[in-house]
């Protein structure tokens, strides 16, 4: 990786120069998760015709660079890769989007009331799998790039950088916010939450005011459940992938009428176990970036940080 010193005007010109090769998007708001760019809320998979087996698959070929995201959002790529690129059936639609997507994040300078990346072992100023990270030094930026293509482009643009070992090497990073908050007890959950699967009291207390609205899952960078819908018109039609949510009551509704997760209790259990027990067991990473969008979006103000602390009490 290479570290470059670049001022705002040069940075804007560099981004302009990249527009010849790819779409460059500046992300200035935090409301929408970056996952929408890799797993769109509505994605056409292919078109079909009713009288032939021929299909027209829609795979993305557009190159895109996203700039200005927060580091927690960049972690989306790492987390979704684990699920969608796993062998032996990598998801071709996700792959086509993700292979043509580059991300340069901007290190956060402040915490929002609901941020907690630093409490799950992450940091508001780490690469997290992004292709680069921008540190705001006031009058100029330090730009750390970890991607050959982007490094080459910036050097062609006229900047030269210094090679550095890794992002933890010492260099000026500007204001990195830090606070004295105790880390969340994730380890006990990873080890023992599954053993509490039948502990009705625990789940009832966490879930008591949940409305099963699903807003948390729609905005979560690590949630990826989807549904498939077909739309026909005349002789042809298309198949689309749309978001689904494990928090919806109908998510596990079976044709017989039975529903193994009939109340919010079972669904919250699933949510917490999936993020902090199943995902780490399968892939080694927790399914959470600490962005806090779920806390902000929840109409009942259920706080996943409190849920984690509460569950940890039962996990030894």
């Amino acid at each position: 990786m290479k570290l470059f010193r670049i001022d705002q005007e040069e940075w804007n010109r560099f981004l302009e120069s990249l527009r010849n090769d790819m779409e460059v998007c500046q992300i200035s708001e935090r409301e929408h998760p970056f996952k929408e760019k890799l797993l769109p809320p509505k994605e056409t998979l292919f078109y079909y015709r009713k009288d032939t087996p021929k299909q027209k698959e829609i795979l993305n070929t557009k190159k895109r660079l996203f700039v200005g995201l927060s580091p927690c959002d960049a972690k989306t790529k790492q987390l979704l890769d684990l699920n969608f690129l796993s062998e032996p059936y990598p998801d071709p639609y996700y792959k086509a989007l993700r292979d043509n997507t580059w991300v340069i994040t901007k290190a956060c300078q402040d915490f929002e009331p609901y941020c907690f990346c630093d409490q799950i072992g992450d940091s508001p100023a780490k690469l997290n799998g992004a292709d680069g990270i921008l540190y705001d030094l006031g009058e100029s930026y330090h730009l750390l790039l970890d991607n050959e293509m982007l490094i080459q482009k910036l050097e062609e643009f006229g900047k030269s950088g210094e090679s550095i070992e890794n992002e933890d090497s010492s260099y000026e990073k500007g204001k990195i916010p830090s606070r004295n908050l105790a880390p969340l007890p994730i380890e006990p959950l990873k080890k023992n939450l599954l053993s509490q699967i039948n502990n009705q009291e625990l789940w009832e207390q966490i879930e008591s005011t949940c409305l099963s609205c699903g807003a948390c899952t729609f905005l979560c960078p690590a949630c990826y459940c989807f549904d498939i819908q077909d739309t026909s018109y005349g002789r042809a039609g298309k198949r689309e992938r749309i978001y689904d949510s494990c928090m919806f009551k109908s998510y596990t509704a079976e044709a017989s009428g039975h529903n193994p997760r009939p109340t919010g209790k079972e669904r919250w259990r699933q949510r917490l176990l999936h993020k902090f027990s199943y995902y780490p067991t399968l892939y080694g990473e927790i399914g959470c970036t600490g962005c806090g969008r779920c806390i902000k979006a929840c109409p009942s103000k259920i706080d996943i940080r409190e849920a984690i602390k509460h569950a940890a009490k039962y996990c030894g």
């Binding site: 005011t209 609205c213 699903g214 807003a215 549904d227 739309t231 109908s250 979006a297």
Partner: protein
């Protein structure tokens, strides 16, 4: 002491009484979160009641939780709009009057977080005084005049006092003199057609079909919502412009004569869709055309479940030949 503290103490006393007299097994009420917001909480014992509180951020419609606890003796904290929801639900046969104990609260209004966030960015609640709210933002601390940051539903509220209750907390409600949503509806009605459809389409394209609005509404309790019915499949679940329009218009229309305009749906929407301007029109039409307002009196049939032979008639051919 300010009104909110007064109400809080009064609620704690009344709730304690209801538990001790064995009138309720659990209480649906509010507690204050670490960020200063009132958030819903189920209180299951007298010991937990120290956390029971009330303030100007108590924004969710608690009547929603009554559906979950139908088999228990339930107490609920209810200001005007919530109590009307409860009446509307009882008029639809959802609960018995004697199974629900209502602790009424005279309401002074509730803030709209989105309005504050739009102006100040992310914030936490600092303090609450008689007619001021203090918030802490990135740029420091602000004191705001409450009225500017109340939700549009609260700025139009005609029924701040609970319409039914078993106990009533001490306090004074805030009477609204100007119906804010009335003005919004008249402005929207006066728009030229192209602007009407443009406004509507802009809102509908924001929808991601998360159904938070439906879940937050106490009147949306159908076992299988029309959007989940597979046969016939009324609309696609994908977030297309026309399917989103069908979803929102139909959900709002299914609330005709049942909606109490509490604003819970508008507040729950993660995409900031302006639902109130549609809901307000429907409620005002229901009142103007049929003289019906939801949830005012027990034992009254919902507005669209009944008719008058001399209802206003705008149909073609109404005079006969």
């Amino acid at each position: 002491m300010n009104q909110n503290d007064q109400i809080t103490l009064s609620l704690q006393l009344l709730a304690r009484k209801a538990f001790e007299e064995d009138k309720i097994e659990l209480l649906i009420g509010f507690e204050i979160s670490p960020d200063g917001y009132a958030r819903p909480r189920i209180f299951r014992s007298v010991e937990e009641l120290d956390s029971l509180a009330w303030n100007h951020t108590a924004s969710i419609n608690l009547a929603n939780y009554l559906h979950k606890y139908k088999d228990k003796k339930v107490g609920i904290i209810a200001q005007g709009c919530i109590s009307r929801s409860i009446v509307a639900l009882m008029n639809e046969g959802q609960f018995d009057r004697n199974k629900v104990i209502i602790i009424g609260v005279p309401c002074q209004g509730v803030i709209d977080e989105k309005k504050i966030r739009a102006e100040y960015g992310e914030f936490t609640i600092l303090l609450e005084e008689e007619d001021e709210i203090g918030i802490k933002t990135h740029s420091g601390e602000q004191i705001m005049e409450e009225e500017n940051y109340f939700h549009s539903a609260c700025l139009s509220c005609q029924y701040p006092d609970p319409v039914i209750y078993d106990y009533l907390a001490e306090g004074k409600s805030r009477k609204v003199t100007v119906d804010y949503l009335d003005k919004i509806v008249k402005e929207a009605e006066a728009l030229p057609e192209e602007e009407k459809i443009a406004k509507f389409t802009t809102e509908m394209e924001k929808c991601i079909r998360c159904y938070a609005c439906r879940q937050a509404c106490p009147m949306c309790y159908c076992d299988t919502c029309f959007v989940d019915v597979n046969s016939p499949k009324w609309l696609s679940n994908a977030p297309n412009k026309t399917d989103n329009s069908i979803w929102n218009i139909t959900r709002i229309f299914h609330l005709a004569g049942r909606c109490v305009e509490c604003g819970a749906c508008d507040r729950a929407c993660p995409e900031n869709i302006d639902l109130m301007y549609l809901i307000a029109k429907m409620n005002r039409d229901t009142k103007d055309l049929f003289g019906f307002t939801a949830g005012l009196k027990l034992g009254v049939k919902p507005g669209l479940n009944t008719f008058q032979p001399n209802d206003p008639d705008f149909f073609w051919g109404k005079e006969g030949v």
